[in-house]
Every structure is written in structure tokens, then in C-alpha cells.
Symmetry: C2
Subunit: 354 residues, 2 copies
DNA sequence: TGAAATCGGTGTAACGATGCACTGACCATA
DNA sequence: TATGGTCAGTGCATCGTTACACCGATTTCA
């Protein structure tokens, strides 16, 4: 079955290939209505679809959006990737998915490979404070949208960032626990050496201080000084945190803010290992509001990220940059996170634990 | 920054582009060692990378593997997609991910588009008993590997299938519950009009009958006659099942086999809505052993699919078909599922529920 | 009226890699 | 010394699309 090419269409419509090409790339004004319709019918009758490879070879670009996430194995990123595909499809683009495993070197390599393969728009879900590792590609003209990482002072001008306001999120989460009467609140996370995570942590600190308490007095877990982020094994991080925090009774909090839901669920699992009950004994709040938060027992209180909206924004910024409605380059879109209260957070237990 | 092309390499190595091309596609014997090394050093010094688009335009194929899953938003498929990417990377291929939403029409469209874009290997995670909707593309030479769908009598010859033995899985799950003394075991699923799901159901039936019981006597949930599979809202399916089954005390089982873990978790959530306790009041067993099964409270007993191994197999079948070690075309690889016993399944309660 | 501008459309040379058909040089055999 | 065969490497047309330069016909306007 031979391919239908632009020549066949041209022949069927009685025009030259150039004219069909003009039509396809709607170069303005250059065509009388009758010709246009002849081409249209020819295309649909022959079932013509332009050949991507040829197009790309000719103009050096693709209609593809690159999406680099830490790992689709993580339910949050899986859900986000899904939303991105839906949004891209609506704009007629396809998505090329890459898992960086949060490795800067892999991030760099993927971004470079995508660029060399003609991808001109990338949504990068990175944790790194600096974009130096991809700045050369940005300088060459890549449209980069970072997700889950607000703009930083040193970022190249053209970068747009889509994120929730993590500081506010951290504050909201912590304030919720404070309102429930908790005064011993731990923060649990893998490495917080990323823009979004440190913002969440600062929000936590801000809320603690605003309540007249001192962060130094809170139970501390040292895991967040570690180097690795633990996206794949986020749950393990949480589980370890529970073990460590409760090993020393002095260190035991009555409530915990976890860096994300997977870590929160792992923490809950850890509590269970210790015979403690989530909610009644220890309040736990997560981030993201992944689908499992609501399924968990008890259902997990979480700070929701509006991923559908964020995916739409990210895709449209990546694809349609330069059109009227677009955001100014270099700007940061900070969406407001939403606290979803469920049953993993309760009033501070009136009687101290044995 | 102009691209480095094969011409530059040729010039640097003092040979013709053809020779470099010969080298790249290692056409045998045609080259003296000195030439080979000159080309090698030229390539590495210039940092040459062949242009995909040009290659694809020229020979009509890509090095890309297509992966069509119901939805990466579902943690099981997210985890599988991740494993596929890892396996493909090891073989030097990239992965193009598509979400079919279990819509046969979308499946067909994606497969066709991938084919037209030069993708010659596709891993299709489909639920459909028939492959008619993609048979024309298979006839043209597509290497299709189906996942989670054993081979069917009418399948085109060239198709290879990778799957667990779902019948055995269904039997193992059910037998486990029977051993725990349960005699009132319900099967909970969205539509079972798919090869794998109906096999699981048959396994369930086989085990029931083998124990001298009758499937007809078991509590029945009608949701599985529905048309939709509910991958996205698998949990909702489970939750609804719990509500329905326990609405009528006569219909209430003491144990449940769920079609997958997400449905199982939804079912557990539904039990919780009703004030029932998983394990103590009702035993629940799922399928897949997603990461969340172990995190849940109580940790979920599940029939594990070895997705890492399966992903490797699927990728190597898709990419390397025709090499020595490859499976015979038309064959089905049925891996043995593994029962992972946790705490959501317990002995049948000695005292009847109030 | 004639020069210029506009309109609708076409010819052609790329983009980068590939593989067939070919060439010259060298060797072996008769 | 013919004849033929092998070896190492090359020339060239080609994949499908695009954009620029161009062209002839018609319109505009001084």
C-alpha cells in the first residue's frame, strides 16, 4: 500500500505540490476559494496525511511536546502525564514521555536529545534550583516550561513556570494542624534541595512561627538532608521517617506534614507497623491529592494540586507561546493549592500517648 | 549552531558519505580496519548523531516502540509504562506513549498513526478479544505485542502475547480465600468482556466448583455486565460494588476477589463507608500488586504480576523479533502470577455479622 | 497608455541519510 | 597475457515536504 503523498493530492486537485503545501501551512491570501475546496476534497478523498519525517527533515521541527517527569511509576506523575496527553491531543500535538529519575544528567541528556530530534517545546518537571544544565538548549530557542518549580532569579528569560504556590501550600497544611490544636508537628521529606520542596518547608516554618512556636522545638527528622529525592521509593522514605521519629519518644510528634501523598502514605504505613492509628494517634497531611488519598483508610487529608488545569496551562504555554493569550516569558504561574480535609487529621489527642 | 551531518564526518575522515553510512549500518566486510577507526574518531570528535527524521524519511521506519495503554493515570499502567521505558532504553529505543482510554476506536487510530509515522513495533495493552480493528496494519508488517491479553484463536499469526496466566491467577486468589474457610465469595469487576478479565473470572469459577461449591450460590454483583471497564475510575467501581453487595444482607459475601488492586482498594473504601473492617469483617484480594497494595491499611493481599520481567519480554519481542532467541510468532507467553498474602484476607469470621 | 503593483500559482533546490549499481585496483588462474 | 573474481570504497537518485524566487495575467493609477 503506497503512501499518499502531496503529489497525489496535487494531481487530484489539478494544482502543483507547492500550492497544496501552501494550503496545508495556510499561507494567507494566496489562493482563490475554488482551488482551496478542490484541494480540501482531494485530501479527504485520498485520505492524505502529511509525512512527519519529511516535514521535520525539511524544517527541522516537530509538532511534538516533550514531557520529562521524574517517573511515571509514581501515581502523581502518572496522573499528570495523562492530563498532559489529553491537553496536547486537544491541540493536535503528540507527547514524548521521558523519565528522568530526577537525575540531572539524564534530564540534560533527554532535553538535548529531544532538541536534536526537532522537539521545540518541552515541559520539564525538575527539582533543580538551577537550569544551567539545559541553558545552552534554551539559548538556541527551546520553549521550556517548568512544572512544579517556580521561576528563579537566574532562570533564562524565556522560561515559563507552572506550579502551585508551595509556600502557601505548606502554610495551609501546617495551619490546619495548628488549628486542630497540634503543637508538635514534624515535617517529613526526602531531600528538600529543590525549589518546590524547600518552599513547602518554608511555608511550614512560616506557619509555625506565625503561631508563636519555634521550628527548632519541633521534632526533627534528618532524612530531608539526604541527597536523594525518592520519587520511586517515596513511600519508603515516609515509612523510615515514622520508624525514626517514634524510636525516640521525645522526638515523637502528634502531627506530620509530609512532602507528598506517597510519602504520607508510607508514613501511615510506618505508623501502622508501630501499632499507632492515623488520625486518632497521629495526624498526617500530604501534598498532591492523588487519587489514592481518598481511597486510603483513613482517607488522607491533602493539599491538592489542580493538575488538570496545570497540565492545560503547561501544554498551551509550551505549544502556543507567542500567541496573544500567552503568558509573558519569564513569568511564573502560581496556582493556589486547595486544602482537602479528610480523616487523617484530627484534633490533638487529649490524653498523651502511653 | 549548524548540525553535524554525515558529510562533515565523511570529510573529516577523508571518505565518502556512503562509506560512513556503511559504517553506521555496519554492512559487513566492506571496510579496512584503518578506515573504520578514522570514521570512529571523526564521529566522536565532531559529536555526530544521525538525524532521525532523515533516516526515517529514507527508509520509512523509526527506532521507536509504540506503547498503547488504557491510561497512565492508573498506577498499574503507570508502573508498567515506566518499566517499558527502562527496558527500551537498554535496547536503545525510545517509547511513544499513548492512552487509549480502552476505546477501541482510539486504539485503532493510535496504532494506525504510529504505523504511518514509521513505528514498526507496538506494545498494545488492549482488552479486546478481537484484533480486527488493527489487523490491516498487522498485515502490512507491524510487529504487534499484546500485553495482558493472551493469544486468541483468530489472532493474526505474527502477534506475540505477553500476559500472566489469568486463569491460574483467578484460581490462586479464590483458593486462598477458600482455604481461609470462606464459602461466600463474590467476584467484583467492571465489564469482564475482555480476554484477561474473563479468564480471571473463569479461574474464580473453576476454584469455586473445584471446592464443591456452586458459583450460582455466590453473591452476585451485576456491575461486571456493564460495558465500560473503568480503568480511570476503577476505584469507583469497587466502591459501588461494596455499596450494592451489602445493601442486601442476603447478598453479602464474607470475601471478595476484585479484578485488580484499584478496584479492590475502592471496595475497601466502600466497606469503610459502611462501617465494616477489611480483613476482620470481609476479606479482600486484588490483582496486580501495585505499590499501594503494600501501603494500604490493612496491606492488601494481591496476585502479583511480574511487570519488570513482562516489560522486558514485551520490549524485546517488539524490537528484536526475528533474532535467534525470539519467541515463535503467534505464541503466547503466560507468566505465572504470584500470590502475595498480606492482611486484607483473614479466616472467615467465626461469629456471623450482626 | 504604459509602468508598476497585485494576484494566483508554479519550478526547483534543498533538508540528511541510504543503498544500489558501479569503478578501479589488485590478485589468481589458465 | 587475457579472463574473471574479489575487495574497498564511491556516485547518485531518492524519500516527502517546504520556501524562496519567479512568472504570466490582470488591475491600478498617474
Amino acid at each position: 500500500m503506497a503512501r499518499v503523498t502531496i503529489q497525489h493530492v496535487a494531481q487530484a486537485a489539478g494544482v502543483s505540490p507547492s500550492t497544496v503545501s501552501n494550503f496545508l501551512n495556510d499561507r494567507q491570501g494566496r489562493m482563490v476559494a475554488a482551488t482551496r475546496t478542490r484541494i480540501e476534497t482531494a485530501i479527504s478523498e485520498l485520505g492524505y496525511r502529511p509525512n512527519r519525517a519529511a516535514r521535520q527533515l525539511r524544517n527541522g521541527k516537530t509538532q511534538t511536546v516533550g514531557l520529562v517527569v521524574p517517573s511515571v511509576g509514581n501515581p502523581f506523575w502518572g496522573a499528570f502525564a495523562h492530563e498532559v496527553e489529553v491537553a496536547a491531543l486537544a491541540l493536535g500535538c503528540s507527547v514524548l514521555l521521558c523519565n528522568s529519575e530526577r537525575d540531572p544528567e539524564r534530564e540534560r541528556r533527554y532535553v538535548e536529545e529531544l532538541w536534536e530530534d526537532g522537539v521545540r517545546s518541552i515541559i520539564l518537571c525538575t527539582s533543580l534550583p538551577s537550569l544551567d544544565h539545559v541553558s545552552n538548549v534554551i539559548a538556541e530557542g527551546l520553549r521550556l516550561v517548568t512544572f512544579d518549580r517556580p521561576a528563579q532569579p537566574n532562570d533564562p528569560e524565556s522560561v515559563v513556570s507552572i506550579s502551585i504556590d508551595n509556600n502557601v501550600g505548606g502554610q495551609v497544611a501546617t495551619a490546619h494542624l495548628l488549628e486542630l490544636g497540634h503543637t508538635s508537628i514534624a515535617f517529613v521529606s526526602g531531600s528538600i534541595r529543590s525549589v518546590n520542596r524547600s518552599a513547602r518547608y518554608r511555608g511550614y516554618c512560616d506557619a509555625i512561627e506565625a503561631a508563636g512556636l519555634s521550628v527548632a522545638d519541633m521534632p526533627q527528622w534528618t532524612g530531608m538532608d539526604a541527597a536523594h529525592f525518592g520519587d520511586v521509593e517515596a513511600a519508603e522514605v515516609g515509612r523510615a521517617a515514622a520508624r525514626d521519629l517514634f524510636a525516640d519518644p521525645k522526638n515523637a510528634p502528634t502531627a506530620v506534614v509530609a512532602i507528598n501523598d506517597m510519602t504520607a502514605l508510607g508514613f501511615c504505613r510506618g505508623l501502622r507497623d508501630l501499632g499507632l492509628k492515623v488520625g486518632r494517634d497521629v495526624s498526617v497531611i500530604g501534598f498532591d491529592d492523588i487519587i489514592l488519598a481518598d481511597l486510603y483508610d483513613p482517607p488522607l487529608t491533602s493539599v491538592r494540586q489542580p493538575i488538570t488545569r496545570m497540565a492545560q496551562l503547561a501544554v498551551s504555554e509550551a505549544v502556543e507561546r507567542g500567541s496573544n493569550e500567552s503568558t509573558d516569558p519569564g513569568s511564573s504561574v502560581l496556582l493556589r493549592p486547595e486544602l482537602v480535609v479528610r480523616e487523617s487529621t484530627e484534633h490533638v489527642p487529649s490524653t498523651p500517648r502511653p
